[in-house]
Amino acid sequence: MLDIYFVQQIINGLSIGLVYALMAIGFTLIFGVLNVVNFAHGEVYTVGAFVGLLLITWVAPPLLVVVLAALAVGAVTGVGLERIAFKPFRRFRDEASLRSRAMREATLLSSLAASIVAREVMTLVFGAHMQTIPQAYLLQRPIAIGPLSITNGDVVIFGASLAMLAALQFMLFRTRIGLSIRAVSNSPMGARFVGIDTDRAIIATFAIGSMLGAAAGILVGLYDGTITPQMGFAPGIKAFVAMVMGGLSSIPGAVICALILGVAESVTTDFLASGWKDLVAYAFLIVTLVFFPQGIFGVGRERA
């Protein structure tokens, strides 16, 4: 007989894992086209949460509108981030410049700087304390399924994440901009020879990745009931770990690893005080780097 409590922990873990997955996809998409890590991705998540909160306190629209607004602001934030922190350091001429360490290190630092500035600005504007979500929007209403008791938050996160994953898949495989993004990820030079506007494909990548990140932020805000300017940091780390475990540029790999990570965290809170649960991600990261330097699902990349 399966322990009911254990099953509930797994469901919890899958919800958290899906949130990590939404964030990890942003990391993975951006790493795919530029071969760099976007350190400001966690702040995009926070921005999504605050936009949702502002909308809720000012307008109080239906939940769907809150999520759509977070998606829209996420897209704008992503594009702005790319223009400010990435584009100025890109000298995109040929294979040699694509492998350039200088470019990679410069954008690493500029995205880190952007993340610090964004976090400090949000702290100045909203204060460092926790903002609480109005009761009506909290996604904590219990739903009983037989002996199981989940929350409407689990249902919303499952539904929204799966819808976004399906939309992403459609976009990447069935639309011109999606094909362009995959082409640039695979061979930036080949992409230029066929006539892809690589700059546009990169902007689109930031927009899409940041949409998913911002949506994750507001969903978690409503699920947990609190929002702070620092809230993006921990999930950012988890999503980063999922990306590395998944092999850096594999979306299915990142999603599966994010789910594994979420479930592992949730289950280990049985054994560890919950303050220690962040250790799980670090442990996974170390194990991956030591034993699977290519990632668990990593295949040799053209541009390693």
Binding site: D94, R182, G190, R192, F193, V194, I196
Partner: protein
């Protein structure tokens, strides 16, 4: 009528000047070849025409429009398309996706008609549309690379070493294909190590050495030239 015109084009890579004063013309429906040994700057020339590298001096004109230092995707949109050295196909994507991407500069409504046209030139690719491009043989990948370029309906097709690393039979079919593409009204600028075969199908040719053009002329005259004979055709052929 000339469709491509380079005038005094210089290209510098860091401290090194790779191209010096290149002046070159491609006429309508012509096949023009550039020959030269390794490292003389042929690929640099092709990439500069396609807008991948910047000219440090000189000008490039395509269909009477200046395209000097235009972005590469704008140049493709005007009908100047390259099948690059090393093929640069998208290995993890399917053959169909590669071909569809080739038409990214065209209106979406044209893609299926263009796909049909390209598949009629490469029936072999038609059987492999769902296969990953990276799993094709070298010759098939070269066909895909040229097919992908043709998807953009080029007025001028640049081919950088299309026969590199292929078996003799495959090389022959590539050269046959070049003839067919030209007969459909597309001009071709070709870079080839296989100078003999290239000169045979060309109207005009240029010889490059050390980043300069050192010799030019109608292909049959160049084939008969003693310097070309000894340096690129391995001595007297007949």
């Amino acid at each position: 009528m000339t469709i491509l015109k380079l005038e005094d084009v210089d290209v510098r890579m860091g401290a090194q000047q790779v191209l010096r004063g290149i002046t070159l013309d491609v006429g309508e429906k012509a096949v023009v070849t550039v020959i030269g040994s390794n490292g003389v700057g042929k690929t640099t020339l092709m990439r500069t025409i396609s807008g991948i590298y910047r000219c440090t001096a000189g000008s490039i004109t395509f269909l009477d429009q200046p395209i000097t230092n235009l972005k590469s995707h704008r140049i493709v949109r005007q009908g100047l398309v390259q099948a690059p050295e090393g093929r640069m196909i998208f290995g993890p994507m399917t053959v169909r996706e590669n071909l569809v991407l080739g038409a990214i500069s065209r209106p979406a409504a044209e893609v299926s008609r263009q796909l049909e046209h390209v598949l009629s030139l490469f029936p072999l690719l038609g059987d492999r549309l769902r296969q990953k491009a990276g799993s094709l043989s070298g010759g098939e990948q070269q066909m895909l690379c040229i097919g992908r370029a043709l998807m953009a309906k080029p007025r001028l097709l640049l081919l950088d070493e299309p026969s590199l690393g292929l078996a003799p039979l495959m090389v022959q079919s590539i050269f046959d294909l070049i003839g067919e593409i030209r007969s459909q009204g597309t001009a071709i600028l070709l870079v080839e190590q296989n100078a003999r075969a290239a000169l045979r199908i060309s109207d005009y040719a240029y010889v490059m050495e050390g980043g300069r053009i050192v010799l030019e002329g109608p292909a049959d005259e160049l084939s008969a030239d003693d310097r070309v004979q000894s340096a690129y055709l391995g001595g007297k052929a007949h």
